[in-house]
Amino acid sequence: MDATTYGWLVLAFPLAGSLLIAFGWRVLPGRSAGWIGTAAIGLAFCASLGALFEILDLPVEERQLTDSAYDYASAGGLDIQMSILVDPLSVFMCLVVSGISALIHLYSISYLTSDRGFSRFFSYLNFFVFSMLLLVLAGNLILLIVGWAFVGFASYALISFWYRRTTATEAGMKAFVINVVGDVGLVLAALFIVRELGTFDLLAIFEAAPEEFTTNESVAVVIGLLLLVGAAAKSAQVPLHTWLPDAMEGPTPVSALIHAATMVTAGVYLIARFHPVFEIALTAADIAAVVGLVTLLIAATIALVVTDLKRIIAYSTMSQIGYMVVGVGIGAYSAGLFHLMTHAFFKALLFMAAGSVIGAMANRQNIDLMGGFRRSLPFTSALLIVGALALAAFPGTSGFFSKDEILAVAETRGGFYWTFAIGGYIGALLTAAYAFRIGFRVAFGPPSEVAHDLERGVDPHAEPQNPATGEREDTDVGFPGEKHAIAEDAWPMKIAMSVLGLGALFAGYIQVPGVDHVLTTFLHGSFEDSALYEIEPTTADAWRGLAVGGAVSLAGIAIAAHFFLRDRAAAASLRERLPWLHDFLERKWYFDELIDACVVRPCLACGRWADRTFERYVVEGLVGGTIGVAKGANAAVRLAQSGYLRSYALLLVVGFCGLGLYFLVAGS
């Protein structure tokens, strides 16, 4: 079977799984929906492996294959095919997405086992994976936009999974609306592309772009910026980032899959895929990198302060994606994508471990209530620390190699790009600090109440309530189930977390500078036309960068140890000395308030004004006016319907006489 057939299989399996569960959930016994879903993604992963091996058999120049299912539309000079593009970049993304998804599916079987909406969850999750794979495999811009939109829908469906929680449904709507802003950017970019280049086919676009556009031509920059808008919305970059922390209302596996490993990386994928356009519109690429840098720093500062465990990890995701966007913005494509892969491993792992802890806490997520789970939850704590180490880029872990590769390329490009390197290192310091804020707070220290209970063998229990607002809930459909899953008890969770743990620790070794560069060589097939792909730091520079990075990471861990391990009061006293800073950070730099004032209120005001004027006068005037005319005509005609037989007969005779008169006159 050739690579494109594998490509279609990769798409077919999750879609089949989703439909099977969606239509057959009533007849599927017990928890089999979960196993079906996991198997579907597992098969998709195997198909991705098949595609990988087929691609590797081909020479490097010929590794971009397309295959078209059917002609969607070809009229008016437009030729839109339902085609997929199987090349190293898309195969890489497929492997990451399907691999991580399969593990998260496995985890979810235990995590959601007592939830009444179990089958619905797996159908949605499979559909999400299908959409994401469609997005990365799309060979046609239209199909990519379709996948993009589906992913947005799946995200909405899964964030609002516990739909009886008002906070969850509001968060789902917020995510969807902000994603739509990104969609508009993407569609406008597509419009400009087809207007300038005349085609939707990705390979054709990339061939035509260098010929049509001169460097930094304004149309190209506009296209780049619109693509950036789409990417920023999907990947939660400033200023379209406010939906991601709220998206933590969804179940933890959703956070792990969508909001850490896959959907939020779609923006990074988009920029990497459209690198020919961005390398022409260099201004847009630079702006993308700046956006990534700003997000990186802002998110890291907020993560130091918020108290909800999942939200800390969410801001961490935002920050790390900032790194990836910087990477693909400055041309370090393989470095950025390498970080995407390692981040998927350790972030999913962190979320899984957090899920286990939250299960132990009976669905309470406040980090101030946690502590000392070392003895009661040994497995979870160990893997939490592994994830934190990788996040903090501790020397030897995967995060260490990937993050520092990006910063090394920034240094190599020199000049203006030094800002990215310096900013990146500052961010790394903050990252290490908050990563071990989580690690030390949760795992170390004196055992909290819950930890004590667990050590004594008491199962976790608490009143079911909304973690954000404290409202009371029940455990029926639309709310989380009764049983709380912790990894120590559930072997599917253990297997998933172990695999991710191994990845988080050892996946970095495929790109050790000076020793091997597996990913760079592999992805070269997709980036042959790139001028920036070849920029590589010298081995010496790379190792210097790694050394600096390692030092920064250890420094950050030390800071965290001071505040959260040794001297617990130090954090509180710092908060008292700088209350304004604490508030500013805790209110997330007031972005929500800013968007509310600048966007939401004016829109609502416009709506109200339009309702008062346009709706009332124009629309109702037109409609009401038409009705009035009809009614008037009706009343006029009704006068003839008197009900008198004789007047009807009269009208009959009048008509007959008239007719006769006409014929007499016409005949003479």
Binding site: Q641, S642, G643, L645, R646, V653
Partner: protein
């Protein structure tokens, strides 16, 4: 007498019948006026039949008579039924189909 005379007479009787339908209110009299109109038609048919030398017009008139008889039967049945149910025998009273 020329056939024209018969035809003009038939037209006159027809016009009288029409006027009767428009003027009278009792359903019985309206039926009688219908008979007038039918007979006017019969007269015209016979006149033409004579002018063409063909008896087909007379057969037509015979069938018209049959039809008139049937119509009278049904119409009178209606009047009788209405009278029995105490419905006023005045077509102006039967107005429930007004728009």
């Amino acid at each position: 007498m020329d056939i024209t005379w018969y035809l003009v007479l038939s037209a006159l009787i027809f016009a009288v019948g029409v006027t009767g339908v428009l003027l009278r209110r009792s359903p019985l009299v309206i039926l009688l006026c219908l008979e007038l109109m039918l007979n006017a038609g019969n007269l015209a048919l016979l006149a033409f039949s004579r002018s063409l030398g063909n008896e087909e017009g007379q057969v037509f008139a015979l069938v018209v008579m049959v039809v008139a008889a049937c119509e009278v039967v049904v119409g009178l049945g209606l009047i009788v039924a209405a009278y029995r149910r105490r419905i006023p025998l005045n077509v102006d009273e039967l107005r429930s189909l007004r728009g």
